[in-house]
């Protein structure tokens, strides 16, 4: 990875004036991803906070060719562009080396955009897909998604007498992408930006479809104090709620092992959507989450060892 000072020499390609909330994790992620790529980039983006806040008519925060078409088709939009590029290259109409990136929120990736994503992965387009996962449909008012964690409060899984937040487990899309046999899958967080930059740098050197899922703290929907965006993402890693790992051609590698695994209550503590889990009457619910986090962590460790 180039040093932070070298990165600072690069032109900013996700610029100020966007209207993401103050402290939004997705803003940091967009900046980091583009900073990590030292080449021309063409990107597509699904409908969601990033798209809505960065391209409010008549403005754009992107200093790259960037296209939005719909909520569900970021992956197919970029597939078409990448396929056209290959033809242009073959016909010698273009000789530039271009990196193709697709962005999508968790809704646009895990749920409605999933078939487009799966198709693009199966066709193995030379594309880097970045899912900024803020664990709900934030742009439309914090509705639950397939990526919303169990027992999280959202407006469509409200904590109350009937239910203690979302009653289903979140999908593990990283594993589903591994099952597509694509060359590279990784998880990341903004709070360990060097790890994220390394992963993007590595991914763009690999031919084929690459998937990186970045946890994207959302001060409005989780909600948390805005200055804690980076810190909360690190707590997710320290509690093993969001392990940092990568899978290169099927081979698992753990990128960071917490010195001392913290209890999930540390992760709940700073976020309104989990506050009910700290109440004495909900000890059983908190234990259920801890057990599942432990189980998934052990399973991952085994995969990384073998």
């Amino acid at each position: 990875m180039p040093s932070i000072k070298e990165l600072a020499k690069r032109e900013s390609r996700f610029v100020s004036g966007h209207r993401l909330c103050a402290g939004c994790g997705a803003g940091i992620i967009m900046r980091l991803v583009l900073l990590a790529i030292d080449k021309p980039v063409i990107a597509s983006c699904a409908t969601g906070c990033v798209e809505v806040a960065s391209t409010i008519f008549p403005y754009s925060s992107w200093k790259i060719p960037w296209i939005h078409s719909a909520f569900e088709n970021s992956a197919s939009t970029i597939s078409g562009i990448e396929a056209a590029y290959r033809v242009f290259k073959r016909e010698r109409k273009i000789d530039k080396d271009i990196v193709f990136v697709a962005f999508g929120g968790d809704g646009g990736t895990h749920d409605i955009g999933f078939q487009a994503l799966s198709g693009a992965a199966e066709r193995n387009h030379n594309v880097l897909y970045i899912c900024y996962n803020n664990q709900a449909y934030m742009n439309t008012g914090v509705q639950r998604s397939g990526a919303t964690p169990k027992f999280a409060h959202t407006t469509t899984s409200p904590v109350g007498k009937k239910i203690p937040g979302k009653i289903e487990w979140q999908k593990n899309l990283g594993e589903i992408m591994v099952a597509h046999n694509i060359p590279y899958v990784a998880t990341a967080i903004p709070g360990r930006w060097n790890d994220l930059i390394n992963k993007v740098e590595k991914a763009i050197k690999i031919e084929g479809f690459k998937y990186i899922e970045v946890l994207s703290p959302c001060r409005l929907g989780w909600p948390h104090e805005p200055e804690l965006t980076m810190e909360i993402s690190r707590i997710a890693v320290e509690t093993c709620v969001w392990p940092l790992y990568e899978v290169e051609f099927g081979k698992y590698k753990l990128n960071y092992k917490p010195k001392e695994k913290k209890p999930v209550s540390e992760w709940f503590r700073l976020q309104g959507r989990f506050r009910h889990l700290l109440l004495p009457e909900n000890v059983k619910l908190a234990e259920e989450i801890q057990k599942e986090v432990d189980r998934r962590w052990e399973e991952l460790l085994k995969k990384c060892e073998s």
Binding site: K9, G17, Y59, P226
Partner: protein, 96 residues
Amino acid sequence: MEKKLTWKELPIGDILEGGSSLKFKTGNWRSKIPVHIPEKCINCFICWISCPDDAIIVDAEKGKWSSFNYDYCKGCGICAYECPKKAIEMREEIEK
């Protein structure tokens, strides 16, 4: 933007000018303001890399922290939290 278009005048698909959001200032969202304390700063640029709004200006050639871009800084406080030397303080906007 000079004049707002009506829905009838809006193009069906549109091409926006890259980086044009710089014309839209977000600094007035701020209720708290980051203030830099140069004596404590070690020019590590961690604040710069952590800002969601690209609102910290650094002199990359000289390797020196330069300034906040208050035209866009939304006052989230991430830079102050992440600074390893506590060289950024968040103050009430009016006190600055």
